[in-house]
């Protein structure tokens, strides 16, 4: 994959924690290229550095060394303000723990990134309503997170991640806190995003989710150890997963 075709690209990416004998290479020389519209799943055991990598890609952490480019722009050299702007305009996050604001309704959670980006309340609300409809929660717009199921909360989180039409959505164990039915629900949502051309990077340790991606990368001790092209989407393992659940 070349520079011109990558929406997200890293070279020699490294992140260390601790010092001297306590030094840990959480991410150790990762090279990654993600094409526009591609879904990449990164798998690996707990503590292998998957989440740290995702945080580096989204500008939530600064690398110790290496290079990150998003749409051609160097992320690793950006200041805090520029990183914040990048997260507003180019990145959408989906977290395992959903991280919805407890006191805000579904629609208020979804419109928050647009408000932070300075859009008018009316425009933000209209877009949030559309996004909730897109994730199938139009009828739950006025519900607080506490009144939603796990799967519904994660769909609200996905809608929020899409609020500012990001170049890439970074999902960290998006089904880690969900039961099987809710997992299927969220997988179908990701599949629809993939088909709509949304670029996705999904961190997971669930092989069934990984099987829905266009490409599967295995990670161990902070480094990529294997890469596989998969069938992806409902044509692949998701279909089998759905049948199993059914």
């Amino acid at each position: 994959m070349t520079d011109n075709t990558s929406v997200l690209r890293t070279r020699g990416l490294r992140k260390d924690f601790g010092k001297a004998t306590g030094l840990v290479h959480a991410v150790d020389g990762v090279d990654l290229d993600v094409a526009p519209g591609e879904t990449v799943a990164i798998m690996g055991p707990s503590g292998c550095g998957k989440s740290t990598l995702l945080h580096l890609l989204g500008g939530l952490e600064r690398p110790t060394d290496g290079e990150i480019r998003l749409a051609g722009r160097r992320v690793d050299q950006m200041g805090e303000k520029a990183l914040a702007r990048l997260r507003r305009e180019a990145v959408g996050f989906v977290f395992q723990a959903f991280h919805l604001m407890d006191e805000l309704t579904a629609v208020e959670n979804v419109e928050l990134p647009a408000l932070l980006a300075g859009r008018s309340r009316r425009a933000a609300r209209a877009q949030a309503t559309d996004l909730l409809e897109r994730v199938g929660l139009a009828d739950r717009a006025g519900f607080l997170p506490s009144a939603l199921s796990g799967g519904q909360r994660q769909r609200v989180a996905v809608a929020r991640a899409l609020s500012n039409e990001p170049l890439v959505v970074l999902a960290d164990e998006p089904t880690g806190n969900l039961d099987s039915a809710a997992t299927l629900d969220v997988l179908q949502l990701f599949d629809s995003l993939r088909r709509a051309g949304q670029t996705l990077v999904i961190i997971t340790h669930d092989s069934r989710i990984a099987a829905t991606a266009d490409r599967l990368i295995s990670m161990r001790d902070g480094a990529f150890v294997d890469e596989t092209k998969t069938m992806g989407g409902t044509r692949g393992n998701l279909g089998a997963f759905a049948q199993l659940e059914g």
Binding site: L60, E80, R87, A97, P113, L116
Partner: protein, 604 residues
């Protein structure tokens, strides 16, 4: 017994783990109890100096102020009836009392000039503390008035346009010392122009020879007489006054010696009022400060509460541990306040130069101890009870998971905030999440601004009424106290503000991290945290300004004074700026915590 021991053990361990918090609590409650102790300890401190002065000057039991007869040299009306009244064993006077003006060392003041005999009087013989008693061409000045004028023995002064040499300074128990208000005793001859003048209408007292005093009277109306009476039983002075008073305009105005003592007491009573009002303001601030400390602790200690409950602690035990810790600290703060207040009271108990002798030791009665302990316990209880009950009721599972208390939802505030710039959006939503904390914040600011507005109104009052007068020791002292109280209020409010910001920052760490993950800059998050403190400070400021003006009105016994608009605007605009400045560092620290670390910790 075992349960009490367990509570005590847990309490002691918790206090050891949190020494800074314990010290802060001791400080905020201790300041309130110290100030209140000073206020309470000043009761009756003037009694001893007055009695000493009374003994040294053969002080009268009753003083009669009499009007002059039809002619300027005619004898006053009603003298014979009084000196021959039942129970009267001695008298001196009547002495002429003329109202005039004194000029000394470039200062001008109103003065009552009492004409006295050269020979000592059997009743009310003022005692010279410097120089000598009256003689021709000389004037003796009441000591506290001389201090206020800044004159010394040997100086030349002008009385009614005539020059006199200061030959002595003296004290008396027969008239209130400056600036106690001679005219509260019925010196009937104050010219109306005095009351509308920019010079202090409170006259001082000087003694001259009788002819000299009479010669100073510009008209019959500006001359009155004082008659001093000695009774067989001084304790019956009040009854004597009641028995011989009349509503007739020409009747003598009688004052018992207890009335003179009361007026002299005003010097200390003003200080007492200021300290007691300050004490209550500090008490309110302490409630806000302790409540914030307790709230912050609850945020940090949710898991410990869960552990206590998980190992068999009942809700009652959980609440008892929290309450016991703060009640112990409150009692310690009460003890500190009592000792500190008792030690600090003597300078405030000074009765000034108008009396001889030293004030008695400030009283530390059982009732004072009980009041101070009760106030300290009430502060701790008011601040701790709700969080303690809330902790006792917390679900064990939620507490073990260290789940934050669900924030409050204010739909209308969320809707309004969506129309505001990002820092205000974040700030308003943060403030709305914890309304109780916002109220404490507003209360803290309101109390502080009340103190500031009181002192501004007071200065404004002084500038309006005493701009060209002589020094007033009573006003000087109350001003010093008000400045001291205001500085302490500001310091305590600053501590409260930083505590509140820190608590907000801890409580909002997840939502702040999330806002940053969604694209808010650290500056926006930091400004939002500051805005969450500034927003409640605004109503606090708006309430505090009129409250301070009203408080000054009460302290000045009805002299309502509005400070200049510029000063008020400075307070109105300056307070939010100061709050923003105080919250800047904690907010910046809060906004700089790594986002990923906070969001990941939610999974642990």
């Amino acid at each position: 017994m075992g349960r009490i021991l367990l509570i005590l053990r847990l309490t002691v361990r918790d206090l050891r783990r949190r020494p800074a918090e314990a010290v802060l609590m001791l400080l905020v409650i201790g300041v309130a109890t110290t100030t209140l102790t000073i206020g309470l300890a000043l009761y009756g401190v003037t009694d001893k100096p007055y009695q000493q002065t009374r003994a040294a000057t053969a002080g009268p039991d009753v003083v009669a102020s009499l009007q002059a007869g039809p002619g300027q040299s005619a004898a006053p009306v009603g003298v014979n009836a009084l000196i021959h009244a039942s129970g009267v064993t001695g008298h001196s006077g009547p002495y002429p009392l003329a109202s005039t003006m004194i000029r000394a060392r470039g200062r001008t003041a109103y003065v009552m000039a009492e004409g006295r005999d050269l020979a000592p009087a059997a009743v009310d013989q003022p005692k010279p503390t410097r120089g000598s008693w009256v003689r021709d061409g000389g004037v003796v000045i009441e000591r506290s008035f001389a201090d206020a004028l800044g004159v010394h023995v040997g100086d030349q002064v002008t009385l009614g346009g005539r020059s006199f040499r200061v030959i002595g300074m003296a004290v008396t128990a027969g008239l209130p010392a400056y600036p106690g208000g001679l005219c509260s005793m019925g010196c009937a001859s104050i010219p109306a122009s005095w009351l509308h003048s920019s010079t202090s209408p409170t006259p001082g007292l000087v003694w001259l020879t009788k002819p000299a005093a009479r010669s100073l009277a510009t008209s019959a109306g500006s001359l009155s007489y004082l008659l001093n009476l000695k009774l067989a039983n001084p304790a019956e002075a009040q009854a004597f006054v009641i028995a011989h008073s009349s509503d007739s305009p020409a009747a003598p105005i009688l004052s018992p010696w207890q009335r003179i003592l009361d007026v002299d007491n005003l010097v200390v009573e003003n200080a007492q009022d200021a300290m007691q009002v300050g004490g209550w303001l500090f008490g309110l601030l302490a409630v806000a400060g302790v409540a914030v400390l307790v709230g912050r602790r609850m945020v940090e200690q949710t898991r410990r509460v869960g552990l206590l409950k998980a190992v068999g602690g009942t809700p009652g035990l959980v609440a008892s541990v929290l309450l016991a810790e703060h009640l112990v600290l409150a009692l310690a703060a009460a003890a500190i306040g009592l000792v500190a207040g008792w030690l600090a009271a003597p300078p405030f108990a000074s009765t000034g130069a108008g009396l001889i002798g030293t004030p008695g030791a400030p009283s530390l009665t059982v009732s004072t101890v009980v009041i101070i302990a009760a106030v300290a316990l009430a502060v701790a209880l008011a601040a701790t009870l709700v969080p303690a009950i809330r902790a006792a009721r917390t679900s064990t599972v939620n507490a073990l998971a260290d789940a934050a208390r669900p924030p409050r939802r204010r739909a209308w505030l969320i809707a309004i905030s969506a129309r505001l710039p990002v820092p205000m959006l974040l700030g308003l939503r943060l403030a709305a999440r914890r309304p109780r904390r916002a109220v404490l914040n507003a209360l803290s600011i309101a109390v502080t601004v009340t103190g500031i507005a009181t002192i501004l109104a007071n200065y404004s009052y002084l500038a309006r009424h005493f701009s060209s007068g002589v020094d007033d020791p009573r006003i000087d002292r109350i001003n010093q106290m008000m400045v001291m109280i205001t500085v302490m209020l500001v310091v305590l409010a600053a501590i409260n503000m930083i505590s509140i910001t820190w608590a907000t920052m801890l409580d909002a760490r997840r939502s702040s991290a999330l806002a940053r993950a969604l694209g808010a800059t650290p500056e926006q998050v930091s400004a939002g945290l500051s805005a969450a403190q500034v927003l409640p400070a605004l109503p606090g400021t708006i309430v505090g300004i009129p409250a301070g003006i009203y408080l000054c009105d009460v302290l000045r016994h009805g002299a309502l004074t509005i400070p200049p608009l510029g000063w008020l605007l400075l307070v109105l605009l300056g307070t939010p700026l100061v709050v923003a400045g105080l919250t800047f560092i904690p907010s910046r620290l809060g906004a700089r915590r790594p986002v990923a670390e906070i969001l990941q910790s939610e999974l642990v």
